[in-house]
Amino acid sequence: MRWGMVIDRKRCIGCYACMISCKQAHALPPEVFWNRVLISETGTYPTVTKQILPVLCNHCKEAACVKVCPTGATTKREDGIVYVDANLCVGCRYCGIACPYQMRTYHADKRKEYWPGQGLTELEKVGREVLYPLQPHTAIKCNFCMERVDEGIRKGVKPGIDRDASPTCVNACPVKARTFGNLDDPNSNVSKLIKERKGYQLHPEFGTEPSVYYLD
């Protein structure tokens, strides 16, 4: 069992729904993104290409962040999800440095509000204190919505197939550019997509074996 994601860049329209839904689901403070949609142009005039690249933690099979973490706060579960146990994290930021995809954030300020100088709104308070409390001064990152995945499995629904067990970014995508599933199962939706459409990983030369694949 190894959870993974396939992102179809041909489908992605750069609407930022994944990014926003992730921020909302995890009550992320300003300037913290576990999901990002990078939009840019490559090439030079007149042969310019618009590039849209949704990025998130790659939950690498050979995760550099897991190896460098001096406390064991960053660990990889049996299902391949790489997560941070905030109670063990000392905030040395070595994981953030070691990640070649720069997908980690050091969560410094718990009280940073969206409307500067006006304090936290009621929604922000509920989000950060009740719904998804993040421990300040620790490293944070995407965890493939592992609570949803675990809860879904407990309920008997299938992650990647049923919405209740799938990551929120997958559910939010209006064009179904994201697919979630088991990479170890050759008959899973993600494995088939990778095989049929020659899925590729970001920077495979680093030897991290990301669990997030892209389709062009």
């Binding site: 990078l38 939009i39 490559t42 690249l53 190896k67 406390t71 440095i97 070691a98 070649p100 030897g207």
Partner: protein, 296 residues
Amino acid sequence: MKLYEWMVKPTAQKEWIDKRGILFWIAFFSIELGAGAFFAASFVGSLPAMLIGWLVCAVIGGSAHLLYLGHPLRFWRMLLKPGTSWISRGLIFIGFFLLLGLIYMALAFFTGTSPTALLVIVDIFAFLVIIYGGFAMNYVNGIPLWNTALLPILFVVSGIWGGAGVGLGVALATQSSATEMVLEEWIRILMIAYIILFVVYLVSVRYNNVISKFSVYEIVAGKYWFLMWFVVVVLGLAFPLAMSITSYVIGLEHMAVGLLYLSILLELIGDMTTRYLVLKNGYYAPLIQSLGFAAS
């Protein structure tokens, strides 16, 4: 940097140099300098220089490291994963170095005995303390400026060179001429080795890939050229080299003490600036390979 630049241009690491990251830079430098001073002083039997080195490592380096952490009270947890983490290994090396170094100095001071076996063990840990920072950075394969085997060697040489400088400063203050002569000899050799290594490091990294080429460009001719050429090269290398050549020609005893102190100070400033430049210009490869920037 605008969001779109992140994917097409090299992105500099910030965690270990910007804002509170300054503490990491200070810790990184002072721990290696302190251990280097102890290491160099142990070969000439200078107890005061060993003590200064130990204090620099423990007080400045240790406190800067702890203050840098998000949760300093949990620092002991960092001892738990020496199998894969260089930070964990480094903390263990520092712990053993400080503990055994203190025992050695206490024995030497209070009983007048200096057990050679213990000193060898302390020196081994001092050496490991000097080298671990280089390996911690070298391990990061996303930053090609750091991901070279030359980096730990460069930091070892600079750590011992700087440490020998501190030892010389202490010897000048305590008027120990025999120690001065030996340490000046060390400084001369290490300085030449450092200059050669530094040039080889920059040139070899420059040809690694376009990201490291960009990093080296930023250091040598980009926005940090002044720090590189004036602070590192002129003040940190050329001036101490000139002083070292002069002392070799006319003899150390004929050198003005003030000039020697200035030389040591400038060498340390140059070394610290070099580390700043290496940390500041650690660039990651962009996620989309374009505009001539590719990971390899």
